[in-house]
């Protein structure tokens, strides 16, 4: 059944996040031949409209206002609800990111609609659009359908394929004027933590360190390995609590949820709260000196040993590999 589907794009540091392209991919599945309409909210974002179209949106609507320069749920809700009122879509897709998690339930509350959060796959089955999502901290999965009202979902980054970029695609980029009324919560300051390099939640390779890394210094070889493999460094709560690294690296229930192609856990025991953030990774490697560590239960490959011996050897081998291709 052809549906009109809205996709909220998310802009970070002036560019669209990868999850927004995946959201277009998801919307394309949900639209089933219908129209995919990209929505961009912010300030000075007009130029991003074309890129959104090249990734598969049929057209793009922008809402710009200086009050939208930074995300606030009040500002964005007004903007997105105005677009929804104007377009009357049958489907809505957001990324399951900090922004999507904060905003989507509010919009669903306003629309009196359902919302299927943290979706990892979408398929059409038996005349229904079926959404799969992890539950019970990733230990089980459920398939859900919408039984009443607009189909609304947030998608977990790195799980749904984006469409290939097509630079020849064109489409209409129009702007909608929305008068943004007073914001009830004002952001006074943002303390940016170490987020240099590859975005952790979108990285294809993640090298994660736990308490076994033992110090801030101990993260150095992990960083080097990440660099060699073009990946990002992550951490367990144990490592963050011990001050070996910043909380912005934390992976798990409380931190980021990652689904890279390759996850290398170094000195991480594998607590359920950590697994909740990474167990969906395609290939998991565990390096731990304790052969009984829980992490080995979910690892595809394991090395029992001292990470300070193993990781430098890995760096060597991976470097050789790069030279040979």
């Amino acid at each position: 059944m052809a549906r009109k589907v809205l996709v909220l794009g998310e802009v970070r540091d002036g560019s669209l996040r990868n999850v927004s392209f995946e959201a277009i991919g998801a919307a394309n599945l949900a639209a089933d031949g219908g129209e995919v309409v990209g929505v961009l909210v912010g300030e000075n974002i007009q130029t991003l409209g074309n890129e959104f179209i090249q990734y598969g949106a049929d057209r793009v609507i922008t809402v710009e206002d200086e009050k939208l320069a930074q995300y606030t749920s009040d500002g964005y809700a007004q903007a997105v609800l105005a677009v929804i009122a104007a377009e009357n879509p049958e489907g809505i897709i957001f990324g399951h990111t900090a922004l999507g998690k904060d905003l989507a339930p509010r919009i669903a509350g306003k629309l009196n609609s359902g919302l299927i959060s943290d979706v990892t796959s979408i398929e059409e089955a038996g005349g229904n659009l079926v959404f799969t999502r992890p539950i019970y901290s990733g230990k089980a999965f459920e398939k859900k359908i919408v039984t009443d009202g607009v189909i609304f979902a947030t998608i977990r980054p790195n799980n749904i394929e984006p469409l290939a970029k097509d630079e020849s695609r064109t489409g209409d980029v129009s702007s909608l004027r929305v008068e943004i009324k007073d914001l009830r919560a004002i952001i006074k300051d943002v303390v940016r933590k170490a987020t240099e390099g590859v975005d952790l939640s979108e990285a294809k390779v993640v090298i994660a360190g736990g308490r076994g890394v033992k110090s801030e210094e101990g993260f150095k070889p992990l960083k080097e390995l990440a660099q060699v493999l073009g990946g990002a460094v992550g951490a367990s709560r144990g490592a963050c609590d011990a001050d070996y690294c910043d909380y912005s690296l934390q992976i798990g229930q409380t931190g980021k949820v990652v689904t890279p192609d390759l996850y290398i856990a170094c000195g991480i025991s594998g607590a359920i709260q950590h697994l909740a953030g990474m167990s969906n990774s395609k290939v998991i490697v565990a390096i731990n000196k304790d052969p009984e560590a829980n992490i080995f239960k979910i690892a595809d490959y394991g090395i029992v040993g001292d990470l300070f011996e193993v990781v430098p050897l890995l760096i060597e081998e991976c470097k050789k590999l790069k030279l040979n291709v």
Binding site: S73, D74, T97, A98, D102, L103, A104, P105, R106, A108, G109, S113, G114, L115, I116, Y136, S137, K139, A140, F141, K144, I145, V146, T147, D148, R184, A185, I186, I187, K188, V190, V191, R192, K193, T195, R237, Y247, S248, L249, Q250, K256, L262, I272, K282, V283, V285, P291, F296, K297, D300, Y301, I303, G305, E309, V310, L313, L314, E316, C318, L321
Partner: protein, 257 residues
Amino acid sequence: MNIYVLLKRTFDTEEKITLANGKINEDGAEFIINPYDEYAVEEAIQVRDAQGGEVTVVTVGNEFAEKQLRTALAMGADKAVLINIEEDVAYGDQFTTAKIISKYLKDKDPDLIIAGNVAIDGGSGQVGPRVAELLGIPYITTITQLKIAGTNVSVTRDVEGDAEIIETSLPLLVTAQQGLNEPRYPSLPGIMKARKKPFEELELDDLELEEDDVAAKTKTIEIYLPPKKEAGKVLSGDMSEQVKELVQLLRSEAKVI
């Protein structure tokens, strides 16, 4: 100050999970206060102790949730409310839960509502923001610090590891992130006192809601466990040989590097 905590009784996901008749098997399972709601209870108690007022813990669920509510009372909350919908609602979703909670809170004039940022079983993180929207009050999710002076509030919010410092005002709903505080354990005298604290039980009727008003918008059609992973390959031999083998496997078998 009139403080409400939204508390969910959850399956302890550290336990083994099995299915029975296509559902999560709850027989003999361990149930706990959702861990993020423990932070919410603790924060509420601290705010009350500093500002005066009363903490009411609210759960939508069934009779079994009394245990978790009593634990919150033993920690120091003043009152508990169980909205028991066992008899009235066969199937609910986040719309259902939020609608019921907001209907209950509508005429209570809450100054501050604290929820958890996510339930470890259902995992949607929807209920807090939905309730705020239905009540027409602002909300801030995943907070790690809360400071209140009069009706002015300063909040630190965790945004994928970055920290936002936000200024807003009461009435307000916030959702608790790990790092907000260290929840206390109920003390023995606390447990004794909890037995005598006000415990109210309500049904949909008492909230002037019909089953149709709260009918779910979504439906679960299947629950399954991920295919059991075959035991991974734990390598052996000389360490440099193991690493060579690993890189080969990642390259030719797994094809990820």
